[in-house]
Symmetry: C2
Subunit: 312 residues, 2 copies
């Protein structure tokens, strides 16, 4: 079983408008709603890959019930902490005429200290039955890094692998809690090691990954988009090379990669094998318009084309 944490869940709404007109009334031609938030993308991709998933985090109000219903329809078990107020909507507006994409992110409901205590408790209970957990994305108002730090500590105490996929200050502040894996992009790893890195210099990047690895993080994956990724882990240093694909939507591909890693780890694969699977899931996710989603047939075609090179 895989456990995912989405502290800042959302209803993702995709609007299509013929022509976006600032200062006037825009009739939305079509609107699609889905369960959103990075942890839910992880859940969905791991579920599609065939794993049993249980999702937790915060939900609120009728919008929260909508998310709950969507997860049920996707075969994802869930056990959320309910906050007062409404789960936020994140609106993505596609203007067909000008080909612009404009987003509006609602602030969403606040999580009280009591809500946070409940989530840590729930995480601890649920993690007992899981081999791997992923904590993804940002936190709602009212939370500090302390929430993630407490879950990382609980996971560690129970001997579970906990992946942390967040950014900025939260990521920095949780490093010493030793998540099992982090997946920084170039900007994030530069911030973490405190120096500028040449994105084309594999050695320089791997050195930075190894530096974080040495600080007590078992697996450090640097995601390089279409250039694949680098990983420093207990089994060594590896590079994943992905074939050229026709990417139609790269939003959520990082979450799909985490979904793939969770799947690999849950199946007891080695880290290089998990990296291969995760790279295939992530590339397949880029081939569909739906965020945090992929088709098994795309993944199965891509997997043999992914090259995992041992570097050191």
């Amino acid at each position: 079983m895989i456990l995912t944490v989405t502290a800042n869940a959302a209803i993702d709404k995709r609007y299509v408008v013929t022509s976006f007109d600032v200062g006037s009334v825009n009739r939305v031609k079509s609107a699609e709603f889905s369960a959103g938030g990075k942890g839910l993308n992880v859940s969905r991709t791991a579920r599609i890959a065939g794993e049993d998933v249980i999702a937790t985090g915060f939900l609120g109000g009728h919008a929260g019930e909508f998310v709950q219903e969507k997860l049920k329809a996707e075969g994802i078990r869930e056990d959320f902490v309910w906050c007062s107020g409404e789960t936020r909507s994140c609106i993505n507006i596609w203007d067909e005429s000008h080909h612009t994409q404009t987003e509006f992110l609602e602030p969403g409901a606040r999580a009280t200290q009591q809500n946070q205590d409940s989530l840590v408790k729930k995480f601890t209970e649920l993690a007992a039955d899981c081999s791997v957990a992923a904590i993804s994305g940002s936190m709602p108002e009212g939370c500090t890094s302390d929430l993630y730090k407490r879950m990382l500590a609980a996971g560690k105490k129970a001997g579970k692998k906990v992946i942390l996929d967040t950014s900025g200050k939260t990521l920095e502040e949780c490093l010493d809690d030793h998540p099992f894996m982090i997946k920084p992009n170039i900007d994030e790893i530069q911030m973490l090691v405190g120096r500028k890195l040449n994105p084309d210099d594999t050695k320089e990047l791997l050195d930075a990954a190894k530096e974080l690895h040495a600080r007590g993080i078992p697996s450090v994956v640097i995601s390089l988009g279409s250039s694949g990724s680098l990983m420093s882990c207990g089994e060594g240093a590896f590079q994943a090379l992905v074939p050229r694909i026709d990417a139609v939507n790269t939003v959520g591909c990082g979450d799909a990669m985490i979904g793939g890693f969770c799947t690999g780890i849950a199946r007891g694969l080695s880290m290089p094998e998990s990296l291969k699977l995760a790279s295939a899931v992530s590339a397949a996710a880029a081939m569909t318009n739906r965020t945090g989603f992929f088709r098994m047939e795309d993944m199965k075609k891509l997997e043999p084309l992914i090259e995992i090179r041992k570097l050191r």
Copy 2:
């Protein structure tokens, strides 16, 4: 008791953004949600005026439950027909820097023929206990004027006063069903009588109102915004003159006027007295930022200042 019909209910969401950026991610600074749709504004204003109100129409999904909960909190009884799919959201974005207001209207859930039959049945049942009903606004996908025509016929059969506040083709197609009252603005009355009218010529406007009155509509009110209104009804022709006010939000003031008329009619006031009350409610509604809302103290100050002139 007053009955209101909102076929196209919505969650009205008001977003405030610091600066609206097309083509990028906009974090919403504050978001306020309310039960929206013209008929619900009528319900709210009649409720604030002190009347018992029951609201019907179509609702769907978790968004529909949100609307239901809001109405409950406002003391408005409700009995809606539930459709599959989600009640739409209407998003109004205020850009603090550029002072622009941009709206996005979701298409919303479709009402099936069966849903429409259920609404006509419900309307007929609920109308039995009401002295006046108001059918307001547009219809969701799947509906034609036939829905309103059937409700007007049911109201007529039961000897009830049914106000119709809609626009365009729907208004035109329902004229021969003789709603008790219509409230066209200048554009609408021009369309209904099929000729251009001088908005400053009271005689010309009243002639047009009388023409519609003669076609079998007991009360024709022409709304002229800050210039007040004209009414042709069984008791004669009247003009309502409103004092100058500091209008902060004129959205929903027409609905507030209908709420005032419903209140007057439910109390057994004469039509000129109802016009006075309705004008005061509408003007008070313009003095608050909240749509379809007014403060009793504003209304009570304004009411004695409204002048009702008998013209013919």
